[in-house]
C-alpha cells in the first residue's frame, strides 16, 4: 500500500472510523508485528505488544499530521518504542544519562537546517557507507534489534565503553554527513 493511502487511513482512524482502522491493521500489522518479534524474540510477548501498539495507534492517530512525515515511519516508531520499553523493563541495563559524553567537545553544531523529507532514506544509506563498516553494522543492529550497549559489547566482544564511544561517534558523524 502506498504511503499516501496509509496516511489517508490514519486520518480516517483519527476521525473515529473503525473500518479504516481495520484496513490500517490489515495493511501494516505484519510490519509492526515483525518489529515486535525481532526486538522481543518471543511470539507471545510480541502479540501482546502488538495489541498495545494498535491501541496507541487508535488513541494517537489524532496527533498524526500528514506533513510531519511518512505514516509508516510514524507507526514503526510507536511499535519500536513500545517493544524496546518492554525489553528494557524485562532486562534492565544500567545506563546513566549523566555519563560523560567525552567525545563531544563543548562546541555547538550549526543551527538546525531544514532537511527535505524525500531524500532522507538515500542520504542515510550514503552516510552509513562513510562509517567504519563494523561501526555501521553496530548502529544498524542496535536499531533493528533494540540491543543495549551491553548486549552490543557482548556480541562484538569489545569493552562496553568502546562500543559506546563507537556508537556516539558514529551518530555525530552521521549527523554531520546528513547536513552536508
Amino acid at each position: 500500500m502506498q504511503s499516501n493511502e496509509i496516511a489517508a487511513l490514519v486520518n480516517r482512524v483519527a476521525m473515529g472510523d473503525r473500518k479504516a482502522f481495520a484496513s490500517l491493521y490489515n495493511a501494516t500489522s505484519s510490519k509492526l508485528f515483525s518489529i515486535c518479534l525481532r526486538i522481543l524474540k518471543d511470539r507471545a510477548d510480541a502479540e501482546e505488544a502488538l495489541q498495545e501498539i494498535y491501541v496507541r495507534v487508535w488513541q494517537r492517530s489524532r496527533t498524526f499530521a500528514v506533513d510531519t512525515g511518512s505514516p509508516l515511519a510514524w507507526l514503526a516508531a510507536i511499535a519500536r518504542n513500545h517493544a524496546i520499553d518492554i525489553l528494557r523493563a524485562r532486562k534492565p541495563v544500567t545506563e546513566d544519562l549523566d555519563d560523560a559524553y567525552d567525545l563531544a567537545d563543548d562546541g555547538t553544531l550549526d543551527p538546525e537546517q531544514q532537511v527535505a523529507n524525500a531524500d532522507e532514506g538515500r542520504r542515510i544509506d550514503r552516510c552509513m557507507e562513510e562509517l567504519d563498516s563494523v561501526h555501521a553494522r553496530a548502529v544498524r543492529r542496535a536499531y533493528v534489534e533494540g540491543l543495549s550497549y551491553l548486549e552490543l559489547a557482548e556480541e562484538l566482544k569489545v569493552p562496553l565503553n568502546t562500543v559506546r564511544t563507537w556508537l556516539r561517534r558514529s551518530l555525530l558523524k552521521l549527523r554531520e554527513c546528513m547536513e552536508r
Partner: protein, 238 residues
Amino acid sequence: MTSGEQSQGRRPQDEILAGEYVLGVLSLEARRAVEQRIANDRAFARIVERWQADLASFNEDYEDVAPSQAIFGRIETRLFGPARVAPSSWGLWNSALFWRRLSFATTAVAVAAVVYASGVIPRPQGYAPLVAELSSTDSQINLLASYDAGNGRLRIVPVAAGGREEKSLELWLVPGSGKTLSLGVFEPDQTGEFVIPADLRRNLTEGATLAVSLEPLGGSPTGVATGPVIASGAVRRP
C-alpha cells in the same frame, strides 16, 4: 521554517542523546527522562523527530510476519468493548469533557450577557455585537461567542486556538464507506452553519462520522485532512 530560539547552536550532546533514544540503546529510566524532555523542549523534540525520520530507512530490515488471526479481535475488544454490534461511541458527540466545556463556555457567556443586561456596563452604541473568545489551556479549539444585543441572539463558532490568522478548522464528513468529504471551513464571522451541497446529502446519514481538523488557513490544500483531528463523532439519532 524557523528553528526557534532554543535550537540556535545545538549541542552535540543533544544530538547524541536523541540519536541514542531513537536507536533504542538507553535504559528504561533514561528513556523516560528523554521522553520528559521531548514533552517540554520543542527544539529537542525536533532533533528526536529528525533522527526518527533519518533512521526510518532501517525499517526495511523488518520483513513482514503475519500475527495470529485472533489479535485484531482482541484489539477491538480492548478499544470498543466486547459488544461488536454497538455503534462507535467515540468522539465529540459523546465526549463528556466536550459537553462540560461547552456548557462551561455557555455559562460564561450567559454571565457576560446578564452583566450587560443589568446595566452594570453601559450598552455599546449601534449594532456592534459583543464578542468573547472562550478558551481553555489544553484545547486546540476556542469558542468564539458573539452576542447581538439588538435581537438577543448569541452564536458560538469554534475557532483554532492560538492563531486564527494562521489556522482554520475544517469540518469533514466520513461516510459509512467511500471517500472523506470536506464540508468546509469554520469562518469566525459566520454563523457556524454549513449548507450541505445537495449531492453530498445522501452521505450524511446515521453511521457516518463528522470530524474537525486543524488545517492551514483557508482549509486543507490537498482535499484530505493534513492536520491533527481535534474532534470526531458518529452521526446518530439522539
